[in-house]
Assembly symmetry: C2
């Protein structure tokens, strides 16, 4: 009996030693779960970033389960999380990478200020505790980075170690501190090809006509610049390129059309939805709805329609306006391979940085060279990024100036390179990734 007790005692000692040893390792290498959400407007590349985050999370020994938040931070608030380990399968990974818009759904929700909005943050904290979330990634644009910043600040005041990283996404390409944003290259490629086709389409009649294409971009003209690619790459059209960075003068616009008619029948103008006059008012504001979104942005539509009316009344020729609309942000069939690959890399790098200890950061692209095109992916404090807008610099604004066109070419061309190959079904239609719950 005495002997047996001694024997047990020895076992307990081993058990205790093992416990303390393992505890040390666990302290060094604590396994927590990952949560990722998508927010803001769609793009053709936002799921590539999601795929990158998930795949890197699955591969990391520091990360346990990988969860997606359905409808972004709104889904977190509702506790609507889904496990996404299916992405470990290469086929599912590729499907997700090439699917446009948000596989997880999106939201447009602005977190409240503290301390008034404390209860909302506490709800999020409770969900994070329930799911043992140690890593949170938010893929989005300007407004989403505001969420990243606020959440990071909140969690730094708690005893929870949650690393929060923003992954940039916006076709508008208007985030500061990064050379460009995932999603932009694909939208740029769509616009370049589409405008090139519209140029053919509108050139067929021997009568004077004006075609006005209204391009997205509330506060920056990057997408409108991309719509000018057929000209930037050596063509003569589009004839007029109107960025929101340059105050719009209606009379100068009409005068330019009249002069262009001296040597062309078919004038093509690409104009930003965010055109403003020199007083800062949106062009054709009177014709707008006045409805604003949750962030206080005015819904824009109609600058093309407005200018169409002006040209018809003032010049009297055939005129048509084309709102390129949602197609420019979800056209996965024309996605840039460069864009999708970089979007995936941004997602992967976000995870690597978080695991290494980073938080309250946004992943950024730093361009090392144009030819050969090379970028470095790093991170910047998100507080320097949220709620700011990067506009087209003056040295790329005037498409009548060959130096500006050359600058724009060096900047844009690498971003649209390569046409991403989508998986097709037996009918030749693209296959898309669907969350399990959305499969019928």
């Amino acid at each position: 009996m005495y002997f047996a007790w001694l024997h047990l005692d020895a076992n307990y000692v081993i058990l205790f030693l093992t416990y303390y040893f393992m505890n040390g390792v666990l302290l060094e290498m604590e396994v927590k779960n990952l949560l990722v959400g998508q927010s803001g407007g769609p793009s053709a590349a936002i799921n590539a970033s999601l795929a990158g985050v998930l795949a890197e999370g699955i591969a990391s020994v520091r990360i346990g389960k990988v969860y997606g938040a359905v409808n972004g931070i709104v889904g977190v608030l509702r506790g609507d999380l889904v496990e996404m380990n299916d992405i470990a399968d290469e086929k599912q990974f590729q499907l997700l990478k090439h699917t446009p818009a948000m596989a997880l759904g999106s939201c447009r929700h602005k977190l409240p200020q503290l301390p008034e909005g404390l209860s909302e943050y506490q709800k999020i904290e409770a969900v994070f505790r329930e799911y043992n979330i140690g890593y949170f990634f938010y893929i989005g644009g300007n407004d989403s980075m505001d969420t990243v910043d606020k959440l990071s600040r909140y969690f730094s005041s708690t005893d929870m170690d949650v690393r929060i990283i923003g992954v940039p996404k916006t076709i508008d390409n208007d985030l500061v501190e990064t050379d460009h944003t995932p999603g932009f290259g694909s939208a740029a490629r769509y616009l370049a090809v589409t405008v090139d086709e519209i140029i053919r389409d509108t050139s067929i009649y021997p009568t004077k006509s004006v075609t006005i294409m209204e391009i997205m971009g509330r506060d920056s003209g990057w997408l409108t610049l991309a719509a000018a690619l057929p000209r930037i790459l050596g063509g003569s059209k589009p004839d007029i390129v109107a960025l929101p960075e340059v105050p719009f003068e209606e009379n100068a616009f009409l005068e330019r059309i009249r002069r262009l008619f001296d040597h062309t029948n078919n004038v093509i103008a690409v104009v930003s939805e965010g055109l403003r006059d020199k007083t800062g008012s949106y062009v054709g504001q009177g014709a707008k709805s006045g409805v604003t979104d949750i962030f206080g942005h005015q819904y824009l539509s109609g600058v093309g329609k407005y200018l169409e009316t002006v040209v018809r009344e003032q010049i009297g020729c055939k005129v048509r306006s084309i709102e390129v609309n949602l197609m420019q942000r979800c056209a996965a069939h024309l996605a840039s391979q460069t864009d999708l690959d970089e979007a995936e890399s941004a997602g992967r790098e976000a995870v690597r940085r978080a695991v290494a200890g980073a938080t309250d950061e946004m992943v950024v692209f730093h361009r090392i060279s144009d030819q050969p095109y090379q970028i470095e992916i790093t991170g910047k404090p998100v507080s320097q990024i949220a709620n700011q807008v990067r506009t087209v610099p003056p040295q790329m604004r005037d498409m009548n100036d060959p130096v500006c066109r050359e600058n724009a070419k060096r900047y844009l061309l690498p971003l649209i390179r390569g046409c991403a190959e989508q998986e097709k079904d037996e009918n030749g239609m693209p296959r898309f990734y669907l969350l399990e719950r959305h499969k019928s």
Copy 2:
């Protein structure tokens, strides 16, 4: 001297015999020149038909030079013809086949009635005589077939042997006597892929929204039916498909949206630009411009915008209208391989039929079977075709009926098969064919 005269005389006899012999052969196989023009609105396949006509013309021993009429019949009236033997080069042929819109330019010109408009026909006759035109091909839609018919009748009253054949082209797919028209399959493919992407795009927010896509098609709903392909192929959307063949009832439309909101957040409606109410008036007519084109057709725009306003006022949810606009007719980057191949074949068959003696005909497609898909290309008297409209038959109109969806699937699916491969430049942008005079 006398002997010498005899010798010469014998030579003359041989010369005379040779002349009579050759003349007989020439009567049997007279070589005349070919002229081809393009007319009406663009498509992604109209240059494939042009390439087919030219290549078959170049290959034919009965045809000498091949000319293109710049800007259709208007170019003929001006004597603006260009030689197009460059198409003998396979690279140029392929480039032309994959270039959207009209390489030769187009026109919308209606030939006058006889006898009042005689001088116009005489001008055309003079140009045909000057260029020794024996074969004239006109690639176009309904209005172009009117030109084919009138010209054929005119030349049958002259001593000239000119064979005139129409090659069908219209994305609207509304020509009678043919299973479908070249250009439709590519537009259908563009719409199917684009609507599928818009479905992803609009599904991301957990709030109620309506998206209305306005599709081309003045008098027939074929393109709107094609926009329903994601549903026809087994998906649940678009939720509402409104063809011009079915009188539109605003209240039923609104009621259907309200009912759809019971089980979906994001309603997608594809509606034809030519929607009419039960009195035959265009929906939202009050909001239209009232401008008409040369053929007396009312310029349509705005049914989408009109319904957007109605939904906003009556239902009050988020609503957006999208006019798919010119993109659906010039998107060569999504052209259907089947469509381009058939368009080329239609051009080639037109030449073969003309050489064999046919005139006053339009080339038509006769479908032999759906599975495997097989067509026969023949010709029909153009007088049976001009100025008529082929609408969507009742057995394909109701997209809520699975039998209609199955019928539409059997009809549409073969037409959109295969994605045509465009030649790309070093920047990944599509290369297009240009007439020599348009190269800068």
